[in-house]
């Protein structure tokens, strides 16, 4: 059981949620588990941030919520990506790639000796 390792920026959490949902509709717990599995528990989603993030995304119309039944016959709230969400995912993913690339470059570039 790893501690919540790194604190997330809100934006990256949104991005990861959108990406997760792009594979298939799922509930909040499912999103948390997927992220943990993908990263081998390196990233652990803090529940306190997850659900507010989900609700905000829903308010913005990027995802849609619907109550459904899980495989264990429990009632759960499933989320799904909307068309607007898909577009936002693409944009944010591109931005993230550029950003991460830039940070990486800064970290790896050593000053050239004169």
């Amino acid at each position: 059981m790893s501690e919540p390792a790194i604190d997330f920026l809100k934006g990256t959490l949104d991005l990861m949620i959108l990406k997760t949902l792009s594979w298939a509709p799922t509930h909040g717990y499912g999103i948390a588990r997927w992220i943990e599995q993908c990263t081998d528990d390196t990233l652990s989603v803090e529940e306190g941030s997850l659900y507010p993030a989900l609700h905000r995304l829903e308010e913005r119309g990027l995802i849609l919520a619907e109550w459904g039944i899980t495989e264990h016959n429990r009632r759960a709230k499933f989320y799904r990506l909307t068309v607007a969400g898909k577009k936002q995912l693409r944009t944010s993913h591109e931005y993230w790639a550029r950003f991460a690339g830039a940070v990486t470059r800064v970290l790896e570039t050593a000053p050239t000796t004169a």
Partner: protein, 877 residues
Amino acid sequence: MNASWRRYLRFWGARVEEDIDDELAFHLEMRAREYMDRGMNERDANAAAMRRVGDIARARATCRTIGHRRQRRMHRAQTLDALVQDLRYALRTLSRQRGWTAVALLTMALGIGASTAVFSAVNSTILNPLPYAGARRVAMIWRVDPKSKVMITPDLEMFSAWEKESRAIEAMERYGTEEVTVTGRGEAAKLGAARIRPTFPAFTGLPLLRGRTFVREELVPGGRQVALISERLWRQQFGGADDVLGQRLMLNDKPVTIIGVAAGRMRLPMPSALPTDVWLPLVKDSLVFGDLTVARLKPGVTDSAARREILDIIKRNNLTPKLSRSRFELQLVRPGDVVSFKTSLYLLAGAVALLLLVACANVAHLLLARGATREREIAIRTALGAGRVRIARQLLTESALLAVAGCVGGVLFAYAGVRALALLRPASLVALAFTSLDSRALVGAVVMSALAGIAFGFTAAFHAIRRTTADSLRGTATSGGGAPATHRLRSLLVITEMALSAMLLVGAALLVRSVHNLQNIDPGFDTANLYSMNVQLPRNRYPADADRRRFMEQVMREAGAIPGVVAVTAAGATPPGIGGFMMSALETRAGMDPAPQAMMMNFITPNYFSTLRLRLEGRTFDEGSLERNDVIVNRAFARKHWPGQPAVGQQMRFGDGRQKSDEGWMTVIGVADEVPTGGAMREPDQPLIYQPMDPRAGLSRISFAVRVKPGFDPVAPLRNVVKTLDDRMIPPAVTTVDADLASSIASQRFTMMLLAVFATLAVVLSAIGLYGVISYVVTQRTREIGIRIALGATPRNVARAVVSRGLVLSTIGLALGLVAAVWGTRVIKSTLYGVTGTDPVSYVATALTLLAVSILACVVPMRRAMRVDPVIAMRGE
């Protein structure tokens, strides 16, 4: 947006908290299950899960906030959506029935517009006529002669004493009015001018737009000639340019420097014939007609307290007026009181209020009628599942939309009405020129109409919903015809409209008769083919008496030479004008009354009576009359001073009896019939003295009366005569004496016209209302009518039944209205002339008119009833 909105409604509803709790609970449960899968027991697993999840309360709170926010936004969007839908539907429905909608809108707009315009006029002219600072405390001060009730202005000594010592008065001003001729810029024109003290602009509280007020050097006779001009003159003649200061204006042929521009709203407390365009300094001895006194009381001081104080001040300072040793009174007159047509204006206000009521009743009526005809539509919608509340809201939206549109139209009409009043006013009603749209009146009228509209729309909606669906769909309802409550209400409305219209018609009829009587008053002399030309002789070009006399004689000679002219005479004034007015004590050989009398005077040439064909007992003046101090008096004068005796030969002189010598006696050589002085009517108690045209009298204003051959128009030739003799004179006005007499009753005619317009509108609206009701009844009773016809009734019988129903309603309304009119006309008694408030002719005419209109209103429904096919009617559609 719509999809998620619907989904939201389905799954969230008001259960924001519960949903969030459920969602979080599920998450916790799944986490606990993780731990249990790894071997923990349930209790420990739950605890571990709780620990893991962390601050769940904060998450819940945040989610709740978001949830509620969404809920509110959805709710708003939903309401807005519904509103838009209602509005679109309302628009569609209204435009489908264009005729009805147009009538309703027009009714509201006219009602609001007319009433606002008139109320605004009342407000601007009577209630709040002055745009001054502290206008409510401003009043004119007059001395009143207790016997003759003549009002005179207080003299300079009194004014100075009051200004120095009064503690009730905050500020006071003296001013005089005159007319000046402006030349040099285009055609010569006559402008209104006022002579004021430098402190006058400050008194009004209206700051000057440019420049400054007068300074000491400009206040002495012979000092610098300066003037302030009005904003109107500034914009018209100088284009509103900034360099107007220092420019010159030629006033009465003398150059005057402009030192400032007065605000457009600055005007004298009492309206004068010409608006004041030039403000001149009040220099000693500069006043032609005497000055007027106006004061502003300190806040909280009553009129009676102020009056007492200024009377005290006079007594304390031993100031006795020169003319009278007897008591006199002081009176404070508010500017609004002097408006001569005050009663007429109040009358119009009352009339237009009635019209507004009729308009409201009509709109209400129309709404009810429509509510009834839409029963089927509403029933279908109810059957299809629309909630009652929804339908009611939709109907209300319709009424509201109608009310808003009507109000907008009303505002436009009100604005136009105010402009129309100001433009169409007869010239004598000067104060009307300053009418401006009063926002309070507008708001009042709008609110009233809107409330009426919405209230009745609501009632209609309410009734429409109450009917059961089955009944409406069947279309038969009860055989009585419709919801009895609505029907009663509508009948009541029609009766009310009829009653109000009857009142208006009676008022209009009475006024029409009054005006007719006024127009046919015998003026006492022959006014046919008689013209009057008034000429003003500027003092600078006609300084000497001889110059003026020469001008007068030249005009008489030249005018007499015009081929179409029969006779020309000259005088101080031609009736209904007044030559002059004086107050003096009078002494006769029999004794004297020391109190000064008020009397009119006129200087005339000997052929005055023959030209006017005014009956004269005795003889007219001749060459020696001036020497001999001859006078001619009118019958009123003779009756007053020599009752029961022949006046010819009697002697009199002015003075208070203190002259010891035997000088100054005048002999009466003739007695003339009375003539109208000032108004169209000949006052039986207006004494008038005629004196021979005396060059020393210094008359600068001469009126020529010209009798012409029938059909001859002397206007151009007469003006030409004057122009030839003096081309720098303003072309004089030449009018027929008949026209002058007519314009003196202009105020009554104006009121009469407006009242007639209002009455007509009210009658038309009532007719529409009556038509609506009868029409409705016919529709509801189609079945019954069909049965009757099948049983043998002739179309005539049916028609009679329909019409008699309509007549019953209107007769009731008429009767009520006539009774109310008898009571109401007591108020307007003072504006009537020659008719009483219960004049039978007017009442009968009103009754006949309304009955005729009612029958007409029933014609269409009647014909519809007559054409009912009994088979179709009985089948009930």
